[in-house]
């Protein structure tokens, strides 16, 4: 018998239909993957099962959990189910915990609520489950606050909260999307073990086909609120009967075409970074001894040639972004020099940096956060123009913005819109337009596609490749996503604890990593080909 049965589920918020006739079943001990792009209704399906829908949402159809009619249950019945029989893990571990309560209080709270256990007993059980999710007492006493933990550790706490009472069903909504690949692999392992130990059903929601393929027994693919295909993971992905399944699989493995490959050593280096270091003041432990500085970047050297595409990969917190900030002259190194087109940019006054800033632009990860919502696109995209020697007139400015928008596949009419009128992918196009309007020689892109859906991601990668070919722009991609490095980079640098531990041609480093850090990254990175092959073996 199935643990969860969703039949013909439809959902509307106000007059907007969100889900149309969704079908889904999960048996005890089974892992079902729910895949789809943003807006496809994955999270809403999960929230319907938890009955935590926003106001004005109306659900029709049948959702049965363990014989209980979820849509018809009273709020009291739902409170008894939530956290006890159904647990849920959310995407963003940084904000999923209450900042003013200790982790012990937060884990024990659900236990006390459901079992009516006393404080001491609940805390003992909280201790046990925290030990189980890999947060041992010695380093993580119950009295820790969330802000004292890293993202991966916080996600473990959230999993502990969800699994404290050994639920029959766990819903994990993009549980690893905000984490780097090594942490992702660890969290996925933990979830897999919990499923096995407790014969728990797991609904794993993700936009990442490779992650779901590695984990799930069966797959359900959602598109615009409708199930397009469902079935055993191996069969669904090997046969790819539905065109959308094929589209998703192709987009996840997309490698943009770059007909003119970069020839190493063909020109004078564009950017030279020599023995650069960055210390941050550490925490003072004693009044009498000076604080030990924290070395975020340690003796790093690299060069980028014109039109070369370099990927800097590493786990979160390894110093990639600090290095990028110093290259962009947004942060001052404590040691070493950076030369751009042969000229040192370290230690120069702001005014003297203008030419360098003009030729060096940046694209950030979050297309939502990097625009002022109250300014029109024309002004946003024209922002870097103040770096030009001769200020363009109003008409020239509009002309330049129109041209830049055209280059990234947007129209001149988009100039008078506001950022909120664009989708995530379009917004990332806008930030690329902003980056190329001054005709830069180097673009630093910090996780430029990790917030995007796979199909959009493929388009943006194509755009990067096209601009590289057409305008000869060199790239420094900063990413923890090895597929981006594989798709886009001529050369890969692996960074670990502030140091560059490995460098070489992209294919060499990614296929035959030599350093321990690079091997860990490659082993942890989800790979769709590998995952499908493994599933085929398992499921025959």
């Amino acid at each position: 018998m199935s643990l969860l049965e969703v039949e013909n589920l439809s959902l509307a918020i106000g007059a907007t239909p969100i889900l149309k006739g969704v079908e889904l079943t999960i048996a005890p001990g089974e892992v079902v993957g729910l895949v789809g792009e943003s807006g496809s209704g994955k999270s809403m399906t999960a929230l319907t099962i938890m009955r935590l829908l926003p106001h004005l949402a109306r659900a029709d159809g049948r959702v049965a959990f363990d014989g209980i009619d979820i849509l018809g249950a009273t709020e009291d019945q739902m409170c008894a189910l939530r956290g006890d029989d159904i647990g849920m893990v959310f995407q963003e571990p940084m904000t999923a915990l209450n900042p003013v309560k200790t982790i012990g209080e937060q884990v024990a709270e659900g236990i006390r609520w459901h079992t009516k256990a006393g404080r001491a007993e609940a805390e003992a059980r909280a201790r046990k489950i925290l030990d189980r999710v890999g947060l041992p007492e010695a380093k993580f006493p119950l009295s820790r606050y969330p802000h004292e933990l890293s993202g991966g550790q916080r996600q473990r706490v959230v999993i502990a909260i969800a699994c404290a009472l050994k639920p029959k069903l766990l819903i994990a909504d993009e549980p690893t999307t905000a984490l780097d690949v090594v942490l992702q692999a660890q969290i996925l392992d933990l979830l897999r073990d919990l499923v096995r130990e407790n014969r728990m059903g797991l609904l794993l929601i993700s936009h990442d086909l490779a992650v779901v393929t590695e984990m799930a027994d069966r797959l359900t693919i959602l598109r615009r609120g409708e199930v397009t295909e469902a079935g055993d993971t191996a069969r669904t992905l090997s046969e790819q009967q539905h065109p959308y399944t094929r589209e998703l699989a192709l987009a996840s493995m997309h490698v943009p075409a770059r007909p003119k490959p970069h020839l190493a050593g063909s020109a004078k280096p564009l950017l030279e970074v020599e023995n650069i270091g960055r210390d941050y003041p550490g925490r003072r432990l004693s009044l009498f001894r000076p604080a030990q500085p924290i070395r975020a970047v340690d003796d790093v050297s690299l060069t980028i040639e014109p039109a070369q595409s370099v990927a800097l990969v590493g786990r979160s917190g390894c110093g990639k972004s600090t290095l990028a900030r110093m290259i962009l002259a947004l942060d001052k190194p404590t040691a070493g020099t950076i030369r751009f087109r042969g000229e040192a940019i370290t230690g120069k006054p702001e005014q003297a940096l203008k030419p360098a800033r003009r030729d060096m632009q940046v694209v950030f990860q979050d297309p939502y956060g990097s625009f002022d919502p109250r300014q029109k696109v024309e002004k946003l995209v024209a922002e870097p123009l103040h770096l030009l020697e001769k200020q363009p007139t109003q008409a020239e400015r509009r002309e330049m913005v129109a041209h830049a928008l055209d280059e990234v596949g947007l129209g001149p009419r988009d100039m008078d819109k506001y950022p909120h009128e664009f989708s995530g992918g379009q917004r990332q196009r806008l930030s690329i337009a902003r980056a190329i309007i001054t005709r830069p020689k180097l673009v630093v892109a910090d996780e430029p596609v990790s917030a995007l859906d796979v199909s959009i991601r493929a388009q943006i990668l194509d755009l990067f490749a096209e601009l590289n070919q057409k305008l000869g722009i060199a790239y420094l991609f900063i990413t923890h996503d090895l597929t981006v490095a594989r798709a886009m980079a001529d050369e890969v640098l692996v960074m670990h604890e502030g140091k560059i531990v490995e460098r070489g041609r992209a294919a060499d480093v990614l296929d035959h990593p030599r350093s321990e850090a690079a091997q860990a990254l490659v082993a942890a990175a989800p790979d769709l080909h590998r995952a499908i092959a493994r599933k085929m073996q398992e499921q025959g």
Binding site: D84, E92, T95, V100, G110, Y145
Partner: protein, 349 residues
């Protein structure tokens, strides 16, 4: 934690010194010679000069400031020009009326505002919320002296429950004294409660949209438990900020209310002192009010640290004295909203 508190303490002390300089400077610039004022119009220039010497008014500015400041520290504020008694005696006799009044008003406004804010936030957009916020809007818009008059009419003139004005003194018994402070405290508290209620509501609504509220709901806690256990404490930071700002308004507000209720408090004393050009009394009371506001804000800063563990743990990351993360944004927004509502209500007055 200690580093944070120490830093706040030092900042408060510096603010106090700076404020004393400003108050002293303003009094220096104001026209009017205290010696001439004390001796009357018929005094000769020599007599005035002699008194100026005796009062130390001819000493250099810095010396006079230091003398005055040293006096403040030992609670010697000088002598009133009009009453010829030490200012401290005047203040002592009045502060036992004003301070309890302000504190009762502050407590009342908190006790009214927080439940109203919680009530409204949990029924966002529904009839109860609209009604409560409509009432709050009214409370913000109506000036407190009008409230005072209505309260007097209802409770004193009509129902004869409390006296219409005056203060019998604490020697008349605590209950009798409190009874005469009750109406003024309510009149002071209502407009403040209206503002604070709106701030509490918007802070709560913001917190209720946070991810950790969803986590708490997913644990199986009912909505009400989530509201009180998880949301309220997080919403306290902006509420505390506004509370600190409001204390200044409560102190200033007593000037009007004490006049309406005929209470012998600091507000009336400063009012009288201004009309009589008794500058030394004005100066002393202003300084006292400044000190009170700084003290309250220090208490607010300390309570941030109690509410938010992030402040206790990472002194290095605290820049403005506000907790890192969501709080500064919330506070700025709350302060902005507070100013808007206040200005709107002033416009109507």
């Amino acid at each position: 934690m200690t580093a944070y508190l120490l830093k706040r303490l030092i900042i408060a002390a510096l603010t106090l010194v700076l404020a004393s300089m400003v108050v002293f400077a303003v009094m220096e610039i104001l026209p009017g010679d205290p010696a001439r004022l004390m001796l009357g119009l018929n005094a000769s220039a020599e007599q005035v000069e002699l008194l100026r010497d005796q009062m130390g008014l001819n000493a250099p500015l810095a010396v006079r400031y230091l003398h005055w400041a040293a006096g403040l520290l030992s609670l010697d504020f000088g002598r009133s020009y009009t009453y010829s008694v030490p200012v401290i005696d005047l203040v002592r006799e009045r502060i036992v009326v004003s301070l309890p009044l302000a504190l009762i008003a502050l407590a009342l406004s908190t006790v009214i505002a927080i439940p109203v804010g919680v009530f409204s936030a949990s029924r966002q957009g529904r009839a109860g919320d609209t009604l409560a916020m409509g009432a709050a809007q009214l409370g913000v818009a109506v000036p407190n002296f009008w409230f005072a008059l209505m309260l007097i009419y209802l409770f004193a003139v009509w129902l004869h429950l409390v006296p219409a004005g005056g203060f019998p003194g604490w020697s008349a018994g605590i209950w009798t004294a409190l009874k005469s402070l009750l109406l003024p405290a309510v009149a002071l508290a209502l407009p403040q409660a209206a503002i604070l209620g709106r701030v509490a509501r918007s802070a709560l609504i913001e917190v209720l949209n946070e991810d950790y509220i969803r986590t708490a709901r997913a644990k199986g806690l009912p909505y009400r438990a989530v509201l009180w256990r998880h949301a309220l404490r997080n919403a306290m930071i902006p509420v505390l900020t506004i509370l600190g700002l409001q204390f200044a308004f409560l102190l200033a507000g007593t000037i009007i209310i004490e006049n309406v209720f005929y209470l012998p408090g600091l507000g009336r004393l400063i009012f009288q002192a201004i009309t009589q050009r008794d500058l030394i009394v004005v100066e002393s009371i202003v300084m006292l009010l400044v000190a009170a506001v700084i003290l309250i804000n220090l208490v607010v800063d300390f309570s941030y640290a109690i509410v938010d563990p992030r402040l206790r743990a990472i002194p290095g990351k605290v820049r403005s004295g506000f907790p890192s993360g969501i709080a500064p944004k919330q506070i700025l927004r709350a302060v902005q909203r507070f100013r808007e509502t206040r200005n709107r209500s002033r416009g109507r007055q």
